[in-house]
């Protein structure tokens, strides 16, 4: 059933494509909070030089050792990463919530709505979900 959630507030992709590098912890918590709200993949660069891309589904900013959890894009399972290991955050994936609000839908023309419905239908048929 249609339910609005906080990820749909904006009708502009505020974060997609942006990247942030941290020399200290300044700003890191705020950016991770935004990445947690973001409905797309992010890429994290870690202290050891490695990079990991995935969907951040949880974060624990409190406690003695703040950490986040993400589903890696190309691996099963999930990973926990300490905030102190992160040196850069990039919003690399598409913001899947962008432009998908009810308000956006009703303001589209009839032709655009039909085209979008046909596209979704074709995709679901291709996956075998219809």
């Amino acid at each position: 059933m249609p339910q609005e959630q906080k990820a749909h507030r904006s009708e502009r992709p505020q974060w997609e494509g942006r990247s942030f590098r941290f020399t200290k912890q300044t700003g890191l918590f705020e950016v991770i909070e935004a990445a947690f709200d973001y409905r797309g993949d992010v890429t994290l660069e870690l202290k050891d030089g490695s990079r990991i891309e995935g969907y951040i589904f949880n974060r624990q900013p409190g406690g003695s050792e703040p950490y986040l959890q993400l589903f890696p894009k190309d691996e099963p399972g999930n990973k926990a990463i300490r905030y102190t290991d992160i040196v850069a955050v990039e919003f690399t994936g598409e913001d899947t919530a962008f432009g998908n609000s009810w308000e956006a839908w009703v303001t589209k023309s009839e032709a655009m709505r039909k085209a979008e419905a046909a596209r979704v239908r074709a995709e679901t048929e291709r996956r075998g979900d219809l």
Binding site: P2, K6, F71, N100, V120, D129
Partner: protein, 338 residues
Amino acid sequence: MAIPVSQAVTVASYVVRQKLRGNRHYPLVLMLEPLFRCNLACAGCGKIQYPEHVLRRRLTPEQCWAAAEECGAPIVSIPGGEPLIHPEMPEIVRGLVARKKYVYLCTNALLMERKLPEYTPSTYLTFSVHMDGLKEEHDMAVCRDGVYDIAVRAIKAALARGFRVTTNTTLFEGGNPERVRKFFDAMMDLGVEGMMVSPGYSYQKAPDQEHFLRRNRTKELFAAILGNRKKHWDFNQSPLFLDFLMGKRDYQCTPWGNPTYNIFGWQRPCYLLQDGYAATFKELIETTDWDRYGTGRNEECADCMVHCGYEASAVDDTFSSWSGFTRTVKLTLLPSSR
């Protein structure tokens, strides 16, 4: 009465046991989301917008059964995504029924008629079909023509096979009460056991006065729809929750009443807001700061009157106050006395 006596007795005895134990944060309905993939893309749906690799992930049957056992709620509602896409859904449902959970399998019905042979009719299993109104309103709500007709066919097929069938309906501000009343007539004429209604969730930053007005508009809408209620309408939900929607009773949210479990874990604080996840149900209950959520406590909860926050509050009221109990009995025996 819309639900079987055995279900009513099970739920009532469960709630009384929780009250006797002094357990304030008890779950009533487990919201089990085994996948987020859907075969519709309803505008505004916040449940399906994830990267492709997340949409490919699913809970296993064992994870679903473990969540149901850990949580202990007598009712398990399975929304999604579209649960009927999950290849192991019949096995998941069989396992939950074997554990004597009352399962509400929520579906948009696109696959339902084809999948019915994979399920066995049971008092413990109900197909809860998403219907947001008559054909025009429903097809608009789900962003695809023809879905209403498919759902009606599926409902008839399920009833013919002996399944319990209910409908679930989300109503938004600006709904037409007369059209909704005709829709209720149409659903009851189909022969469904009962209907479930809830206002949709919306969130907009606004001053308190605007939130107050918005909640009032929701109450006016439901009062117009449910006032002078027709005798043949049956609702598969607490009569006090309907009173709440009509503005006749006031409740605070009890988000722990409908805990949500999905591929990310136990969702804080509720089915609609995502403020993080706990690894276990115990951790969810014990470490969530519940006082941060609910009307008047959190901006994001200001307009919310949704079933997943307030129906458990209504059920709790039935067993917490004499007025709640007598009102529930009266409305159950004489539903049109509202």
